[in-house]
Every structure is written in C-alpha cells, then in structure tokens.
C-alpha cells in the first residue's frame, strides 16, 4: 500500500479555474449516488473512480471539491485515495498495461512478458513513458489464473500471453 510522504505545511496544490466536478456531475451524484449510502462518504469511491477515469489521476483540487460535495474533510479523501492502488495522484499514461505477477502467472512465465515490455517500452514497472502513452504496472493476481500469464490493458484482460500476441496487441492500439 502506498503511504504519501510530503511536506504538507509548505505544499501548495496546483489549481485551475475550471472545476473538476461540473454542475452536471454534482447533480448526478446528489440524485443518484449519494442517496445509495447512509452517509455521504460512501459515495467517495464511485466518484473517485469517475475522476480517475476521466483525468488519468486524481488532482488535489478535485479532492477538495469532492470533500466539499460530500461534506467531509479533504484529508478523508486523501486518506482513501492514498490507500487504493487504482487511484493515483500523478497522471498515468494513455494505456495502462498491468502484468500479473502472482503465483500462477509466475510459474507460467510472466517474467518473459514483463522483461519484454521493459525492453519494448524502455521503462521499469510503475513508470510512464516520456510520451505519456504507456504506464507499465506489475500487478497482483488479476483473477484469471486459468489464462496465465495475463495482463490488463486499460481494463481489458488478455489471457495466455506470448511475446508475439503482446506485440500484436500493443501495436494495434490506436494513437
């Protein structure tokens, strides 16, 4: 799990004029998502999923806006964001390639897949290429052990990977 270490007292968060949560989104959350939970904080994870999906990360300004919407402390939002691996505070690449490294994939050859990606993309796991196109992740079990080795590419799972099938897959991704 991630622990964020930062000089809180001196940090200024980057801000922009246009809010991350539009009025339309807020209306949707107030009408559809927040009433699902006995306390508004329950709606935090669904909202964070939306922001992460739309922006490729969760900006600090968005955390403050979400806190205001749910009437909780921004620190509570950061607490949740920092805990879950799917939420990032830095932008991820356009395509997130997550290679499973858990036991079934390891004994079925995940290392070949991961090493090939490191060479091909010229990055190490948990880094993003300079052009912002790919982020490489080494993930824990994806729940597809019958298709080991497997990987997630932006949420789509691909099973029984070989170097050839992986190359074909990545080369076919639109720009």
């Amino acid at each position: 799990m991630a622990w964020i270490v930062k000089p809180s007292a001196t940090t200024t968060i980057p801000r922009r004029d246009k809010p991350y949560l539009t009025d339309k989104m807020k209306k949707h959350y107030r009408a559809e998502i927040i009433p699902r939970y006995e306390r508004p904080q329950g709606a935090l994870m669904p909202i964070l999923h939306d922001v992460q999906h739309d922006h490729g990360h969760i900006p600090y300004q968005a955390m403050v806006e979400i806190a205001q919407l749910l009437e909780i402390h921004p620190a509570d939002v950061l607490d949740t964001v920092s805990f879950y691996e799917e939420y990032t505070t830095e932008p991820v690449g356009k395509y997130v390639v997550g290679v499973c490294q858990s036991i079934a994939c390891e004994v079925c050859g995940h290392q070949t897949i991961l090493d090939h990606l490191r060479r091909k993309l010229e990055i190490e796991p948990h880094e993003t290429t300079k052009d912002g196109r790919f982020t490489l992740l080494a993930m824990e079990c994806l729940g597809a052990c019958e298709g080991a080795p497997c990987a997630l590419v932006n949420g789509d799972r691909h099973d029984n990977l070989t170097i050839e099938s992986l190359d074909a897959l990545l080369d076919a991704l639109p720009d």
């Binding site: 799990m1 935090l44 799917e86 858990s102 004994v107 079925c108 824990e140 079990c141 729940g143």
Partner: protein
Amino acid sequence: MPVTEPVLCHRIPTPPWGDPADRHLVTYDEYVKSGGYQALKMALDMKPAEIVDAVKESQLRGRGGAGFPCGLKWTFLPEPDGGRRYLAVNCDEAEPGTFKDRLLCDFDPHLVLEGIAITCHACRLDTAYFFIRGEYHHQAETVQRAIDEAYEAGIFGNKKGILGKGDLSIECYLHRGAGAYICGEETGLLEAVEGKRGWPRVKPPFPAVSGLFGRPTIVNNVETLAAVTPIVLNGAEWFTKMGCDSSIGGPPSYGPKLMGVSGHVNKPGVYEVDLGIPLRKLVDDFAGGMRGGKAYKGAIAGGVSMGILGPDQFDAEMDFDIGRKYDVMGLGTACPTIFDEDTDMVAVARNIARFFKNESCGQCTPCREGAQWIYKLLCRIESGEATSKDLDLLLEIAGSMGIMPGTTICGLADGNNWAVRTIVNKYRSEFESRVKPYFVPVTMGAG
C-alpha cells in the same frame, strides 16, 4: 451421491457436461426461460425463518475461504428494529490462484442476484451492496446490467415488495473496489463501502450486530449466495447428498463446489465438483493431467494464504477437513495452483511473500513489518546470500504474526505465516541447499 449434473454451472457449459467454448452471458430472459427466479417465488411463499432453517439444515458452509456455516451466520442477526439492515456481497476475489466467482459474474450473474434476493427476504435485509474488485472491469459491467434487468423485472426497488409480494423492498447497488486485497476481509470490505481505507475492524462487534454504518450486516461470498438458490429450489436434503461427511468427526462438507485449477496442468479452468474430491482426481479427470506429462511436486491448497500441499499429499481430499489432515490452514477458496517437478519452491515462497508485503494494509505492525522482513529474507535465500540462521529467523518471524499468535486484527498475516511456514517445512531440503552454513564462533577457555 456425487454431483451428477451441474448445479451452479447449470447455465454455464463446463466439462464434463458442456464445452467452455459455448459459454455466453445469460440474460434475464434466458435465465427466466431456463427456470430462473422460481426459487425466489418459492421463497416468497415461505416464512423467512423457514428459509433460514433450510439453509441451516443444508449445512452450507461459506465458500469465501473461512467455511463458516452460512445459516448459523444468518441467525446472529438481531431482530429487526425498523432501521436499515444490509447485505454485503463479497466479490473481492483477490486471493492469488482464485477465479471461481468471476465465472458466475461473467456468465450467470442472475443466479447470484436471485440468491441475494432470497437472502434479503430470509434475513429481512433491505439493502445489498455487491462489492466487486476493481480489476474486474468487464464483470462489473455484466453485473450492473443484470442488476438493471432485475430492477426492471420488479425484483429490486419494488415498493410493493419483491416481485410485488410481501412488505420488503430491497435495493441492490454495485460498489467497485479499487485494487486492495484486504477488502476481501469482511470488515475491510465494509470500510471500503463506507468510502474509507480498507482497514479491518476489531471484532467483536461482529458485522451481524454492527456492520455497515453501524447497522446489522451479513457478509456472504458470491458462490455462497449462488448456492442458496438451488437449496431453496430442491431442499436441504438434496444438497446434503452431494459432497462428503467429515472423516475425522468434524462438521461435514456438503454440496457442490466450484474449484478453479491453475498452474502446470493441461486444462486449467473452473470445474464444478463434489467437496471431498481427491486433488489427484481433480487434476487428472478434470484439468487434463499434468502439463507435459511431468510429475507433481506440490500445490497451493486453495489460495496462497492456505499454505501448500506437499509432494506426498497429491491424494489430499478437497474438503473442509483438509486443514486438520494435511497441515495447511484450510480449504480456503478451493482453487488449487499445481506445480510440476521443475518448480523452484524458494521462488514460489518469495512470490507469495511479495504478494503479502504488497497487500498488507499497514494497520498492525507485526504484519506490516514482518511481511517486509519475510520478503527480504526469502530474496536473500533465493540469491544464495543467506545463512542457515536466516532460515530459522524466517520461521520465527512467520510464526509470530497473525490472529492465531494473537498479534494482528485480521487474518492476512496468518495467510503469510501459513504459506511461508508450510513451504519451508515441506520443502526444507530445498531451502537448506540454498543457504550457507552458519558457524557459531567458539573460543577455547584460557583457563
């Protein structure tokens, strides 16, 4: 009587009854046409207590890992007091080697939803949260679509009662996780639904008394709920004819079970079998035998936290007695990962230790720190830099973390503990051949 026809895989073609290539998502219409939601209609004509009794009689044990009797868990609920009562559906399934719940979400989500509706009726629960792990993107979509269909059909969100019957209106919401193994722990899951970090809670109070938002909550695994549907339909006695009795005088292991076989086998996949099937039979008759005709070396019993079945335990029966008979923690999710003779068990141990190091939530010190130490020690052993003293240190650290030694809140560290200890104990020579001897300096007394 063994499982003669598919129960949970009734609509999912699974060998030996069907070809996995024919699998497709069963929509609401197709589900109803093939006899779906009949059990729910029967349940609505029964008194809630009758359903709870039927599930108790069936001796259905939780399919999520702990094997806790499902009916007994339901009886822990207090009497309704007019406030909200919750069902949390555990579809976190992040245990390495486990992929059985995914099959149900992928192809037959209505079987689970029917179980949810029956459980809500039986336990008087008004809101269900279907917690699905973040990595299951596609499955979240199929389940959400099924939930929408069930809303349209008047099963959920019906002010006139479930399917227009009774006085209970239930809501069912999908709640997606975001990549944390610990949310599969029941109280960690509750924290995640509340929008907090998934730190397990101190128990007691147990969720049945004080769970989500401090209200009574039942947490059940997807497969457990799916099994409730056929129990209501066919009766408890029918269910107890499948599976096996305990051979050591413990509680029985009745019913069919989804077992996902992975690793070095020819046909990895999920199979529906009787509880109590010997591992060898599961591998040879269902999973197509060992890959490349190689010899069996070991197997993860059912998810890495359960520990490992050694080279002489290929005939282990896959039932809830497995823990007491074969020196593993338990049956877990009953999804074995098989290793052939070429597997480096030190690397297996290192891989599992890395998983627990990454997934420790950081709440309890013995787990957070211990998991790091165990991983570092195993890396050192793998690289050949360690001494025999490190092997003893490894076992000492592993043995000191978890609920059983009494040093942590949840069982994640027990998983780490059992996995590492069973691998080292059952493959001791392999570890010893990788470490350098440790010489104790002895000085002669000068007299």
